[in-house]
């Protein structure tokens, strides 16, 4: 599971360099997110722009990450593709996360949605 992190302005942006967050990688995803976000100070934005498929296991892993980052951080999501957005919408998890059209929009908005 390839995830990379970069500091942009005051935020840590985690890029998912995979097309899928599904049952096959859900545990790896959680572990990698825990490693990459350890000690982070500011906002944490998960860039899902390359991800074309998330199933309920992948969604559960993203929710799990949000919970272990709280209350210090509120996980923000960016760049949801239509298939991924649908899963969040159908499960109503789109009401739980701050969701931005893109990382650029998230940074411009400086915390919009929080």
């Amino acid at each position: 599971m390839k995830l990379t992190a970069e500091s942009v302005a005051e935020a840590l942006v985690v890029n998912v360099e995979e097309e899928r967050i599904d049952a096959a990688v859900a545990i790896q995803f959680k572990d990698r997110m825990r490693d990459l976000t350890a000690g982070a100070g500011g906002r944490i934005i998960l860039d899902l722009g390359r991800v074309t498929f998330v199933d309920s296991s992948g969604l559960g892993a993203i929710v799990s990450v949000m919970k272990f980052l709280a209350p210090v951080h509120r996980l923000e999501l960016a760049g949801l593709t239509p298939n991924v957005g649908r899963v969040f919408h159908l499960t109503r998890m789109d009401s739980v996360f701050p969701i931005h059209a893109s990382v650029a929009a998230a940074l411009q908005g400086a915390g919009h949605g929080l």
């Binding site: 049952a23 498929f53 296991s57 949000m66 109503r92």
Partner: protein, 163 residues
């Protein structure tokens, strides 16, 4: 490159999968129930069936199938050393008809689970980290039917095509 067979040898598919394709009729695939094989099966289903669908319909089909197959891996074969899954897809007018067969545990009480989407709790730490599978299936599919026969689970449903 070494030839892996001559005439009459089945087309080789990953991880022991076998597929039978009949042009215009449908798609059938048999594979072992594990998360990697589920991923590969979905990939093949998308290539064979969903390529002719709109991106939205293809996405819905892949999600519904993923949830069914994940449930089989996690529940039907829970405690088993895995086992076979048979996936059959067929297009009929504005529907994709799906049939999934496995040899794992029966559904509790031999009935389909309730498919209502759970409400979102007010407290962050009470958020569920799963349990959406059946709700998603019930949201996406129609005519869901389940039966247990000869030690096997038969699940059928139809996915309405919208565009």
């Amino acid at each position: 490159m070494v030839s892996d067979g001559g005439l009459g040898t089945p087309h080789r598919t990953p991880r022991g999968m076998s597929s039978v394709l009949s042009a215009g009729v449908g798609f059938q695939l048999c594979f072992e129930a594990d998360p990697r094989a589920v991923r590969e099966a979905l990939g093949q289903a998308v290539v064979e069936i969903a390529r002719d669908l709109s991106p939205e319909d293809a996405g819905k089909l892949e999600l519904a199938l993923a949830e069914v197959l994940n449930n089989i891996v996690e529940h039907a074969y829970d405690g088993h050393p895995s086992g076979p899954v048979e996936l059959c897809l067929r297009r009929e007018a504005a529907w994709i008809c799906c049939r999934i067969v496995d040899s794992g545990h029966a559904m509790p009480a031999h009935e389909l689970p309730e498919g209502r989407m759970q409400p979102v709790p007010a407290q962050l730490d009470e958020l569920p980290e799963g349990g959406w599978g059946w709700s998603l299936i019930c949201t996406l599919a129609t005519d869901l039917a389940y039966r247990r026969e000869d030690g096997r689970n038969f699940l059928t449903f139809r996915l309405p095509l919208t565009g």
